[in-house]
Symmetry: D2
Subunit: 450 residues, 4 copies
């Protein structure tokens, strides 16, 4: 077969591919038709036991069978209904009775979302917990914090990672909430009124939903509301962008000039430069995040459909939904691999802390000047800024210059500013707060995907 | 002043403009500096009572004062801190001590989000409740349901509107949840470790947060995590897209050929065609939705910042955050006006129901053929499809043709399919389910914006 | 094989799939390696005739062969170079000498762009020319023009279509120009300086480019500049959006209430409503356009790479480039099918022209009042607007009311406003201007894709 | 006035603000009304000389005057036409005769585009030429090239900059081409047929266009085709993204660990860390690029309007067009400032070249092993890769290890690989090729904005 799609062979796990394979989608369609039959039975609109017959005869169908009929009818779901009708004997008479295509499709999407979210959230949990363990391990590994890409003040590598624990736990929570809005049964007929089932529509729907272990939407127009699909794509894009932040962190820390952390790998870096060791895994995460960010556009545009629905969501969803999940799936796999193969060079961290010749302790000195020497904060700030400029101009050590200028004023107090390890504030408590937050989120999210 | 921005004079309410005016933002900065001072006091790092002094002397500042210092220092927040330092007497010494700019900016954003969400959610509540009242009022106003822009089967106008009640209540719920993630205090110092406050950082933060009636983020990097900002922009874009769906509905229903509903207005429709009555209000909602959908891109790109933060989120947030809220604010105002001025032409609805000469009842007939005459569903479907094609070719009435073909078989059963009013299924129950869902959402969302 | 991608079986032509198949991409990689070898030969850096040997031994490679080595080396292009090195005998020694991976990849992209644009522009030409023929055929088919979805003044169906001729010819021109910027050879070595080839780099590059019938980029960083990729994705998104406009036109014209044009089809419209005839082909075009609009985001984000390049463009391009071309390919195929199967109901067009009871001629009357009766335009506008409101309120015929009010004043002049066919202005000339414009564009675009 | 928009006071030049100020837009509307009057005169539909009267009496109008009438009529352009009608005496009768609002609005947009592009292209020219001069100046300033953020092989700073010259010249060319498609006159009446002007529409249009020094669109639907607006927004987003690439380059080069270039500035870097020197100007460019990338979404969505047009483009264009131009205007101003204040530390460049202990010369050695010692390229690559890994493991100098391993084999040849200055290939020629390309582009673009 001609294959044009890297998600078929390059990105995403086999498990996630399985969720969105043509076979699995067909399997789910049959499952929904059977569940609806169970509803019809409960409502007295079909003979008892037909649902099992639908499941059975449906299990023999292959996507190619549907393709064949679709080539004639030009309608995927009508083709499936016809096939089941023809193949399920007496029960076939009642197959798809009163159902519209999107009763089947959207409920199958809900089942697929449940399967896909199960994978995503499991992986995300793994990433968060590994980050948490690294955060604890490195809770005292001192390094420089950087803002604007420029040295700020010290922190610990564990503290840095604990922030990712917090941030990713927010995504976990968000996906957990979105799950509750999208993993829902949509069985309501041609325009959502359940007209074909006389007054027994609620029975049909509720029994079918129960059979699928889903809650029903309280009302729909024919299709499940697309704000949920957009929300899911947005949440996936946000998660991918957070992993992008982690990947960017690693890419920057592994520059030759920085060298504080790198991804161990035996891979070739360049096809022409034998020496190269590139952070390609991290670059791939950043690249996939761009793809995830793109899909949200189609997701949002699918909300304003005409009247009870038009079909313009259909083709775009066939593309963006599987691809979005596979994109984030791969990004999570890569993120976990990055963390597992991350080599931390504590020596480099220490070395880099001193390359600004003490300037990273300027805030510490400023605070002393205010609290111990009674200088107004803004004046202390201005004075130290000036001192720093002079040090750079003359190539001098900043703390040395501080000693000269303020040693008499500050006395022993200054000592505390000599050592970055003394200037970590509440970093350790905050690491534990982040971990505790994650435990809370995990505990609260009972999880519609379970 | 040269004004290039339609949000200053054309789109958005005065209230929302007020939330994001330069004055208000400055007011909030001062508020946060004062709250932080209260935290410093509690931690024993500043004299008691200074926070009131900061509030007082800060209240006299104008944006232009900050501009003036910024022209020299090139840094907005450092300029504000300097001004407060100079103007707040003895207390001025301690202003901004250990705070970094984004402690002030991000906490001010949180306060602005609270104010802005209060407006948005209040308006959204108004729109939903008005929709709910219309849904009840029109719960028996029969009209045709349309899928693909084409006549499907009957429903009621109230049922149509009840779907919007459900969908918009999902946005209400989403914004309520997002609120809990973004309306949070971020006071943690240069790289989030609270180093400047020795071991007393948690006290500083918690007291400040309490003073502002905010929960603190458990940990931050210097800045509040940007996944929250992206989530907010996504939720606003989703809401705008839902209003776009409502607007598109009205635009289509008010076509000259459809004429089922239109927006009453005394406005000029065209500058050259005196007769025109255009659904401009609804078109504006659709137009603004495009703007809201755009902003999410900047929101997502702001997540992967470098290390503890870089500044690339700053300029884009100054643009997209106020503009996004004002966009949705105007869309909600317009949506409410559309609903309030919506004239429903029940006569046109009835008339249109019959223009397909009974074909909209084809599903009804099909179900009868299955349940009463024992015909397999897929065969009934195929037979009626053929019949319909013949009717179109010959210009015949569909139900008449059905009577000829299946009258004997179906007998009196057919009568039920003659009248669209008999084919509304559970529409009325579903309307009430939608309204009940909304009440549930409203009750559950305790609302961080309150 | 598990298949998750609808572009493999549902959207896009076999031809376009072939362009982006794994096999074709590998074929092109080998072609570029051979061309580069030819350059090395010309520069005296490899033995004469090796390029043919590379072509030959490369022709036996399969994607799976590369996968196998890549599993070990973790680098696709290094794996290919190694395979060629091992399999091409003595010539193998020189394979890939001084080339970096993106010399091969980006030049292969250029070749793929040429092939893909050839298909796209051929199809686009077909659509434009069919539109042009329909425009001429219907140059006197009068119908109502609509703005805001509301009746404006008359035009002809041919005039309506001629606008699409003009608009699509602009896309043709744009793609033609983009082609000149992206179908270019990129052979410049590790960081673009051609260092590995001593002073003979320009010879290597120029001979290779000549062999591939490509112009070289004058300078590159290692990779071809990504502004070109973004431009291409933007141009494809614009084209898809124009087809979306055409599709939306057809969807609206085929509403039951409008009925002026519809797509003939024997397909099933709904799986539960036998009577349905849906404009699904047009809806698919609109749906695919959303996908095309999404991909531009990844395209734009791929421009700001770090230094000489980072790898974050790689994964996203593997996804969005083939998918974008396949998306637009299908949209063009569908657009052509829509036009070829479009049934125009001239009777319905005539009927609809009169449903506003003459109001569509209000501008005509206004102009008469100004030019013949000397009434100021704005007063005539206001007066007729008032008259129209009264007509609607009383259900009266507008032209009748005009006759009553202004018959004496206007006399025979009014007659011209009775018949829409008299109010077509320069429609016919403008149709021909549009066709002429297209001929000009086609003539001017010599076409890098040829 | 409450001001919520940073483009009013923070981003963009006064000149560009002036282009899109409410006053300027009103001025252009009047200008178009006058030009159209001139067309009416030429067609014998209005008295001679009226166009000057319209210009004169229109010059007295203020935006507030229009607001006042609009509050009553609900239509901006009808309000303007009424005001001119009332105030221009006898000529007032003919004002706006046969014009539709978008004849005025879209032609005014074209005039605004011309003014805005003039500013953008002038600034872009300035940036390119400054880059070109720096490229020449630094054509021998050797530094390391970096791919994946990792050391690759040497290049010169001038070569690096010359790539930007080439890339930005592509944007110049693109904007030049887009200009030809969007700076066009749209005067065609209610649905584009020019019906109101009898058979004299082409005269009206052509005379008006001539008066405004514009070419007319050959045909329109009422509005100018929106593919042009989308193209313009795409081209601006691409340009902004290229500047983002330049900004990212500077941000990375100015890291404390790299220190090869930084932006000289006396500004405060941090409000709490006195020592900070941040690349804020470059970060602002990157931030603004995100905004520019966002706007393309609204631009693309504005293409598929209904029938002859709907109004959903209107509100979004009022937002995104001025804001997009102001965004790129500021990004260009900042880019120029960055380059003008860029301090290049050649010493740091030299120092960094050696931090990988010679590994950056691995390709050089590999080529020697192939060309001089007859080793197959892929074997040489593998051998050197292994050597490099060993060097890293043992902390050894790479070139020293090479000498040990291959000194006998390569002899004096190895000498050439000791000095990065010997390994610059055709860098200097390529710089001149880039500059020549720019001269060619500049010469060819005759420029519709002139």
């Amino acid at each position: 077969m001609v294959d044009v799609c890297p998600f078929n062979y390059r990105y995403g796990s086999e498990n996630m591919r399985e969720v969105f394979s043509r076979d699995s989608m067909l399997r789910r369609y049959v499952q929904v038709e059977a569940a609806a039959m169970r509803g019809l039975e409960a409502a007295g609109l079909a003979p008892k036991g037909c649902w099992e017959e639908v499941l059975r005869c449906g299990s023999e169908l292959r996507p190619e069978d549907v393709d064949e009929v679709e080539a004639r009818l030009g309608h995927e779901m009508a083709s499936l209904a016809t096939l089941l009708g023809e193949r399920c004997g007496e029960c076939g008479k009642y197959v798809h009775l009163g159902l519209t295509s999107n009763d089947v499709i959207d409920t199958a999407w809900a089942l697929a979302f449940r399967d896909a979210l199960r994978i995503i959230l499991k992986r995300l949990e793994g990433v968060i917990e590994f980050l948490a363990s690294l955060a604890v391990k490195h809770s005292r590994t001192v390094m420089v914090g950087r803002t604007h890409g420029v040295h700020a003040i010290p922190l610990t590598f564990g503290f840095k990672l604990a922030n990712y624990v917090y941030e990713l736990s927010r995504s976990y929570e968000r996906l957990c909430e979105a799950c509750g809005r999208v993993v829902k049964c949509n069985i309501s007929g041609a325009v959502g009124t359940m007209a074909a089932w006389g007054g027994k529509g609620l029975t049909v729907r509720d029994v079918a939903a129960e059979a699928l272990r889903l809650e029903p939407h309280p009302i729909t127009t024919q299709i499940a509301p697309r704000d949920g699909f957009a929300e899911l794509l947005a949440d996936l894009a946000i998660l991918a962008s957070q992993l992008d932040r982690l990947a960017l962190e690693v890419r920057e820390l592994s520059r030759d000039e920085v060298g504080e952390a790198f991804i161990a790998s035996g891979e070739v870096g360049s096809s022409t430069m034998p020496h190269k060791r590139n952070p390609t895994l991290a670059e791939r995460v950043s690249g996939l995040a761009k793809v995830a960010r793109s899909f949200i556009i189609a997701g949002l545009e699918n909300i304003p459909l005409m009247h009870e629905r038009d079909l313009t969501n259909s083709s775009s969803e066939r593309v963006v939904i599987p691809h979005a999940f596979l994109t984030v799936d791969q990004a999570l796999i890569d993120a976990e691999a990055i963390l597992k193969h991350l080599v931390v060079d504590e020596e480099a961290m220490r070395r880099n802390l001193s390359i600004t010749k003490g300037a990273v302790m300027s805030e510490c000195v400023m605070v002393k000047l205010v609290l111990k020497a009674g200088m107004p904060r803004h004046e202390a700030h201005a004075a130290l800024r000036k001192l720093r400029d002079e040090c750079i101009a003359r190539g001098e050590d900043f703390l040395e210059a501080v000693r000269k200028a303020y040693g008499d004023l500050l006395g022993e107090e200054l000592g505390e500013c000599l050592n970055p390890e003394n200037y970590l504030g509440s970093a350790e408590s905050l690491i534990h707060a982040a971990l505790k937050h994650w435990e809370g989120v995990k505990g609260r999210c009972e999880g519609c995907w379970r």
